[in-house]
Amino acid sequence: MAQATRVLGGPVASEPRLQIQAPSQSQWAQAWKRLKRNRIALISIGIVLAYILVAVLAAVIAPHNPIEDNSGHDSLPPFWVTRSINGKSGEAAFILGTDGSGRDLLSRIIYGTRTSIVVGLLPTVVVLAIGTMVGFISGLRGGGTDNALMRITDVFYALPVELILILIFITIGDTPLGRVWNGVLLYIIGIAIVSWSGLSRLMRGSALGIKGREFVDAARSMGASNWHIIFRHIFPNSLGLIMVWAAFAVPRQIIAEAILGFIGIGLRPALDLKDFFVASWGRLFLDAYANVNGNPNFLASIAIVVSILVIAFTFMGDGLRDALDPSARK
């Protein structure tokens, strides 16, 4: 009852309560305590934050212009390599070496990080908005609404993800819509189409579990609307699940961009530094792989950079799950 009173915005019950020995802790404070003990998860969060920082500061920390061709300095290995397969030796100015056109690799990776972080995070926000709403409404309303929404979800759930993304980029990539933000907008739309259904299934399950709890009955008995129950009860109680889902969704989307770029479709990085998206990891994979025999360090650099980030996201997601739901810990 006390909880229902508080969440409805009424006066907080002030009757004297039993004194409990331990100070009370919120669910989140407890989760944070558990997370702090998980060293791998903390390191992973640190790595993810570092990548985000690199993305934000790309223009400041990149040592070179990422799209400037340095003629005479093409296909260089990293600076510590004295003699590469192609007979060239590294130069201190180009820390990770250069690509086939003499563009500085480190700077391109840094700018690519900016693109990849955006491409990982922005679609997640859109998918979260669609997926949670459909799932919550479906779970809470039940009956015919639930049935109809779930049949639609089933159809979208069965769509082959990569195939649909490839198809969208083949057909719309060249249109004005496909060129907005160098293709990032189209990418967001594509990801939204293929991945909301998984989340909405998850959220429907969560809503079904929460709507049977006493505090929802209490809120309802005081006349709370469906929207109130969604935003004040179901959403906060599903937040843990949502965070874990997002921690796994972001790297998936970063990888999907890399795959599309590697196939040769996908984002079209700009050729003007005034634009925001001037490099993408997908394109870097394509360039690097085309030149793997002459300059294998290029491919190694980009593969390592991408792997570290996706591994960090996985360990972070695992850590979050363990912290938020200790009973699931195996």
């Binding site: 159809v155 769509l159 195939l163 719309i172 793997v292």
Partner: protein, 334 residues
Amino acid sequence: MAGLIVRRFFYTIPVLLIISIVTFGLMHYAPGGPWDRDTDAGKQIDAKTQTLLNQQFGLDKPIWRQYTGYIFGDFNGDNGSFRCGAICGNLGPSYRQRGRMVQDILFKPFDEDKGFIDSKFGYSLRLGLLALIMAIVVGIPAGVISALKHNSWIDLTITFVTNVGISVPSFVAGFFAILVLAVGLGVIPVRQQSWDGLSPWLLPAAVFSFGTMASFARLTRASILEVMKQDYVRTARAKGAWESSVIWRHMLRNALIPVITTLGPAMAALITGSIVMEQVFGIPGVGTDFIRSIGNRDYSMIMGTTLFYALLIVIANLSVDILYGVADPRIRVE
């Protein structure tokens, strides 16, 4: 059980219809037609030839009729006879590889005397099947060992490798394999010359299966740990059953049910993922052709391949649903 199969079967029809409508619609929305960039001799096809070509391929008809013609069939055969569409396995003529049907490109063996397994799709299928087998044969036992030796060093090692396997995408793993084995050590060539026999396929399939293997191992481990605590396992031990019988008959049988549910997504990932893996290892399968047809806007090829892959994924999911019903009697009743 029969009811379950029939019901699931009818679920697949709207999925396939929607995929085909979306694919078809997108193809037509896309700027440029199939004849646009046909500049073999450096010149555009003239308008008259284009009209003829459009008539020949049925592109002069209203769009809904093109769609139904493509999917179900139309009277555009010789002398206006009925020609069956995609539902009969007729994916139409390729716009680029003149005189060849899309289904021939996908399924016809490279040589007359060779079997289906040496076709474009045969190559993709080899890669995917081999990877699936590896994932099952290595992943599930690894998960079982990990769970039985819970918290030992072997468990921690398997868990760590599993986590890496789940996060690193297979095409990046493929790059590492190529960098180390081909460029670094020179054990294998960057591009295989021949794909005959089994040995050239082992490395690509192993790399390809790594992620699926890891997710099988992880799920099996979690599932066994869950099952180990169940009453029926304690009962089996209490009545003096052999340990091997407890593991195989009581634990594994129940623990594998959740693993079966992920077989569907895993197969789907292996089917569509082969498009990328073929590019990484230079395997001349469907994926390589698909990407080429993207480049030169061979619409019927793109459409046919997409539909076929969608069908494969739908069949994979359907068969897993049925398998699930076989493995877990509770599903059948529902």
